[in-house]
């Protein structure tokens, strides 16, 4: 299984002063936070609060009006090739090519040899993708699709996973499988930023932020759901 290289304690990821406007509407206003290696950061907030916008900016899908996104001191907003290698984005909806099988989808991202190896004893095996490798995507369950999406996303051995509501509408067994993978990814030194509404995912996070009115506030979840709802 691939190892990630950043050492614990070193500030790996810095998100600074991100601003994003849609016309006059200020979606993000001076968003700042840091993520250390092996850390999971949860972004909480109501629907439409800007969580997905933040992730798509970090994934390079749209430009911020201003701000920085650095990893190990390197500016990933300017260096798109480096960002494509170091950052993997898993959107909320299925990004897979539905007419094709799991193998076909994965082959787009992996060489044949690497794919076989990963399916045998790598992250793809951990995600259980080998069990439905020949199944067309349009015949898969939501959980299979999500696992396959993650499998496609991590082909470049990324240091940071951006996950937009990764287990929304999945059953408990599937969620557990994905959480197990998250733990493994974390143990390997990988970091994650998760936009979520799921309590189980919040519990997985090392730190959480609430995104409200375009501003990011730190939040310590202590199991008090009514309090959390009040903050949102």
């Amino acid at each position: 299984m691939s190892k990630r290289i950043s050492g614990k304690g070193e500030t790996m990821i810095e998100v600074k002063h991100i601003n994003k406007n849609y016309g006059k509407h200020k979606v993000l206003q001076g968003v700042d936070f840091t993520v250390e290696p092996g850390q999971i950061v949860g972004i909480l907030g109501e629907n439409g609060s800007g969580k997905s916008t933040l992730l798509t900016i970090l994934a390079g899908l749209q430009k911020a009006n201003s701000g920085f996104f650095n990893m190990d001191g390197k500016n990933l907003i300017k260096n798109t090739k480096l960002r494509n290698d170091l950052v993997a984005y898993v959107p909320q909806e299925t990004p897979l090519i539905t007419e094709l099988t799991a193998w076909d989808n994965l082959r787009m991202w992996y060489s044949s040899d690497k794919l076989k190896k990963e399916l045998k004893d790598g992250f793809l095996a951990m995600l259980g993708i080998d069990q439905f490798i020949k199944v067309p995507v349009n015949q898969m369950s939501g959980g299979m699709k999500k696992r396959l999406t993650i499998g496609c996303a991590i082909n470049s051995n990324p240091k940071l996973l951006l996950l937009d509501e990764p287990t929304a509408a999945l059953d408990l067994v599937c969620k557990e499988r994905i959480y197990t993978y998250f733990e493994q990814f974390k143990r390997q030194g990988g970091s994650m930023i998760i936009a979520t509404h799921e309590v189980q995912e919040i519990e997985l996070c090392d730190k959480c932020y609430i995104l409200k009115d375009g501003k990011l506030d730190p939040y310590k979840y202590d199991g008090d759901i009514p309090h959390l709802i009040g903050r949102l």
Binding site: G60, Q62, N84, P91, T94, P95, L100, R107, M108
Partner: protein, 413 residues
């Protein structure tokens, strides 16, 4: 990082999963269209419908020019806008026929008119009679003059092609050749029927100098090629913005996405066009279809046309891609694209000679992608230089793809 080639191959894999159904659909539609076309052209109802107006003629028709005109119209004019002249001995019998609705109107050729015609002057008028229930005689004549002009040329098309070919071989320029051919017929028509009080004929009804079979061949084929993009519409279904976002986050940005998806789409359209041309080739080999423009070797001519359809296929595929990229939902895609294609085909003269439209509409029609494709095909069929139209089609293709890329970029947000 994923390479462009990998994404292209995966798109090919996608679209070729749809290929058997697409080809089957093309074969069915093309066969039905062909069968319907042959049935219509050979049906008695179609022939009966061709007789649109009957005009009575009273007076001296022994004059050489008048008899020539009447003979020409009654013997060679078999198009939908045919005018039939019925000769009457006197006005009373003509009036009776008019009252019985056996004729639409009648014309009295006076001695003064005959004298003026012989002198090639323009100082005498024909006398026209029509009932109030009939369409106004002036309108009838306007229509008929246009029809006569069209049909005279339609049934002289072999002569036109021959004349044009001879002039071309003798080294005459394109403009000179067209002008000469037009002038020849204008003189003919003006001498027969076009007196300034009736109408001033400025158009001959031809479209880009093509014969009737070639004109309809080009129009219907190009329209069919636009419709071919529907066959691969399922290629555009099931794609979600998340997919585009995911690809983009992996380095396959919108320009790469669009080009990698456009190429397989173009391939499918090219295959569909090849299948269609194969059917036309078979029909030509069976002798069911021929054109003066490729009279020397019909089969080779069809192959030559097929080769020259490639740029048209490239442009129409880009147009279809752009439309399907912009529109959301299968119903929207089909409905809007179909309406657009019908409109473009209509004003570009696919279904009716564009000379019937006002000047501004003609100009717009000629400059639309469909109009450029038609002019290009006309040049191909008449063996003219196609360079200018190729360049315009290339520019259109690039424009359509750029628009598709912009739309794709918007979908990432």
């Amino acid at each position: 990082m994923i390479r462009f080639k990998d994404y292209l191959l995966i798109q090919y894999k996608r679209i070729f999963k749809l290929l058997p159904g697409i080809v089957a659909m093309i074969l069915v539609v093309a066969t039905l269209l062909g069968a319907a076309g042959i049935a219509i052209v050979n049906s008695d109802a179609y022939k009966a419908e061709q007789q649109k107006y009957k005009l009575g003629v009273v007076g001296d028709t022994d004059n050489e020019m008048i008899s020539l005109g009447i003979n020409m119209i009654t013997t060679i004019d078999e198009s939908r806008f045919m005018i039939e002249f019925v000769e009457f001995e006197d006005m009373e019998s003509a009036q009776e026929a008019l009252r019985d609705a056996d004729i639409s109107a009648f014309i009295v050729i006076t001695d003064e008119f005959t004298d003026a015609l012989n002198a090639m002057t323009n100082d005498s008028k024909l006398k026209y009679y029509a009932t109030s229930g009939q369409k106004g005689i002036s309108n009838v004549m306007m229509d008929e003059i246009a029809s006569i002009a069209t049909n005279v040329i339609v049934y002289s098309e072999t002569g036109i092609c021959t004349l044009r070919q001879i002039m071309k071989e003798k080294g005459y320029a394109k403009d000179v050749r067209h002008t000469s051919i037009n002038d020849l017929f204008m003189i003919y028509m003006f001498a027969l029927v076009s007196r300034t009080e009736i109408a001033d004929i400025t158009e001959l009804g031809l479209s880009d100098g093509l014969s009737t079979p070639a004109y309809y061949f080009a129009g219907i084929l190009l329209f069919f090629m636009m419709l071919l993009s529907f066959c691969a519409i399922s290629f555009f279904l099931g794609q979600k913005n998340a997919q585009f976002q995911f690809m983009s986050s992996k380095g396959i940005t919108p320009p790469y996405q669009v080009v990698a998806e456009y190429i397989p789409f173009l391939t499918i359209n090219a295959i569909c066009t090849a299948v269609t041309m194969g059917l036309i080739f078979a029909v030509t080999r069976m002798g069911l279809f021929s054109m003066d423009e490729i009279s020397s070797d019909q089969s080779m001519g069809i192959l030559n046309i097929s080769f020259h359809l490639i740029p048209v296929c490239i442009m129409f595929s880009a147009l279809g891609f752009m439309i399907f990229e912009i529109l959301i939902g299968v119903i929207n895609k089909i409905l809007v694209a179909f309406m657009l294609y019908i409109g473009m085909g209509y004003v570009s003269g696919y279904f009716y000679p564009k000379t019937v439209f006002p000047g501004i509409v003609q100009t717009i029609g000629e400059h639309l992608p469909s109009g450029v494709a038609f002019s290009y095909m006309a040049d191909v069929l008449t063996d003219e230089n196609v360079g200018r139209h190729l360049l315009i089609m290339f520019a259109y293709t690039i424009t359509f793809l750029l628009i598709a890329i912009l739309v794709r970029k918007q979908k990432l947000k």
